[in-house]
């Protein structure tokens, strides 16, 4: 199984000299199996360069197939889709997956992005065959030789975590999520942090505990866990209602799940390359102090990992 990172940034793309090394593109990770199944997780601006590369292969002649798993439809996870070149070549087969919603179907959510007046080319003019599949929390299915599992995350408007297994290896993708402790996120707008006096109800606590244990189960024995670690502890204290985690939350989950490697991911837009270096160093140090056998890396554009058996 091969994992390549095309976009590692959260919120919005941040070009410039401060982000040159880790990269300024928003979320996009490519997973391909030895047998050639191609899965793309999230379609932030990073997917544009992936699309350009794919157009140098069978996608150029309209013979490509790819499966795009969307964690949720916040901009930084879908904004690259209109710039994904394989969409515009007849014959290519693209399968887009995301969590089922009560209020709006996936196709219409994604259509809005390319409707007038926002974008000049509407969906029906994208010439590839595009199919949509909506997933329920906890869905478990196969894409050719890759086994996919999903579970719900704790994020405004709700996001989905994915685990992919193939070639004797497993990768889990956990973005975006808040820790499973202080706020239970749903569809409502949160104007600020919860007041110190408003305690979570018993049932909310229980929901969060269950959610966390399902995330741990999803990550169980994973060779790689890619995790939303956007916040420093101080930032989390100030804006817990934004729905993102700290590195320590990711380390805890990896520890409980017995995962082998953690990739810090969804770096804050303000985080410079040197600051990401520092976050990585301190996360490693803390994890060592607690004697946890976990390899920790920080995702960067161009990171290319081989897991399990290679084709």
């Amino acid at each position: 199984m091969r994992i390549r990172f095309w976009g590692v940034r959260g919120s919005l793309p941040v070009p410039g000299p401060r982000t040159e090394r880790y990269g300024g593109n928003t979320s996009c990770v490519e997973v391909s199996s030895a047998a050639g199944t191609r899965i793309i997780i999230d379609a932030g601006t990073g997917i544009r360069r992936l699309g350009k590369e794919l157009m140098r292969s069978e996608f150029e002649s309209g013979k490509g197939a790819a499966h795009i798993l969307i964690s949720h439809t916040h901009w930084d996870h879908i904004q690259g889709l209109p710039f994904f070149a394989p969409f515009y070549r007849a014959g290519n087969k693209l399968f887009v997956y995301a969590r089922q919603r009560d209020d709006q179907n996936l196709r219409s959510v994604l259509s809005l992005q390319v409707d007038s007046p926002f974008f000049p080319v509407p969906f029906h003019k994208a010439r590839a065959d595009v199919a949509f599949r909506e997933l329920h929390d906890g869905a478990h299915f196969e894409i050719n030789d890759v086994v996919v599992s999903c579970t719900r995350l704790n994020h405004p408007y709700i996001a989905t975590a994915y685990a992919l297994s193939a070639d004797g290896a497993k990768v889990a993708y956990i973005a975006d999520t808040a820790p499973f402790s202080d706020i239970l996120f749903g569809h409502e707008f949160l104007a600020g942090p919860p007041s110190p006096h408003s305690l979570l109800s018993k049932s909310d606590h229980k929901t969060l505990r269950t959610m966390r244990s399902q995330v741990v189960r999803l990550c169980e024995g994973a060779d790689l866990v890619i995790y939303d670690t956007m916040f420093t502890p101080e930032e989390y204290r100030q804006t817990p209602h934004f729905g993102h985690s700290r590195p320590s939350d990711a380390v805890d989950i990896c520890h409980d799940a017995g995962a082998r490697m953690l990739a810090l991911y969804h770096h804050a837009p303000d985080r410079s390359d040197t600051e990401v270096d520092a976050v990585l160093a301190s996360t490693r140090k803390e994890a060592t102090l607690t004697a946890r056998k976990l390899e920790i890396i920080a995702g960067f554009e161009g990171l290319d990992l081989a897991l399990g058996k290679q084709g």
Binding site: R9, P13, T19, G23, R48, W75, L112, P117, F118, P120
Partner: protein, 283 residues
Amino acid sequence: MDVTFWGVRGSIPSPGPGTVRYGGNTACVSVRLPDGELIILDCGTGARNLGISLLAGPFGKGKGSATLLLSHAHWDHIQGFPFFGPFYVPGNSFTVYGGSRGERLLEDVLERQMAAQFFPVQSFHNMGARIEMRPLGEDKDVRVGSATVRAHANPHGPTPALAFRIDAGGKSLVYASDAGYGTGGPPQAALDLYRGVDLLIHDSTFTPEDRALRLERGLSSLEDAVDCAARAGVKKLALFHYDQDYSDHDVDELVARGRRWLEGRAAAGIEVLGAAEGLTLSL
């Protein structure tokens, strides 16, 4: 008038080592008028850095006000809206002018970007600042402080894009992003708007060769930009809205070609420069 570029890229932000000098953020330009008023031209991702710099002043205390002029609603011209810090400080006040036929339409467009499916804030009404939307027609000038603002709708593929002229304190500038002129070149009304300005910021997305391959995009080539500058007799031309795939080196080439052409057209004296993030021009 001080003009500062915060985003100069077209279509989609293009981070990476190849774009660090000119910058990879999408369209946003600020204009500080002699009387201190602030006008913001378009709200691409460059608006985020503009917002960060403004928060150090009155906008950080909820005492700021500014006018936003939106050329059109393609993503690269509005996607910085949810990330513009001063919108989140109660007390700040903004007037947003756009080209739709009524304020309801403009509101609807910006509100769709903020919707729960796409952004956690869910509505611009949740942002804190006072944001008022107003339509801007071609028929009527608008006053912003000491400045007069006039708009002209350029063709831009399936939708028009507004070009804006700002006159203040005896100085003038035009912002003409996303202009896809027909085979006859710029229409007279466009040239009239651009006539004699101190600074013309003009769409220069492509080389002429690349534009020929992508005519349907409704964007200008360097040649269109230079042609407008020469025919309208402007003093300075800033190339703008570079293709997302152009590296700093490619933009250098674009600027050098522009200079050679203007010299060849006996329009020497018009200064050509490539707009770059962080560059401020004082008129």
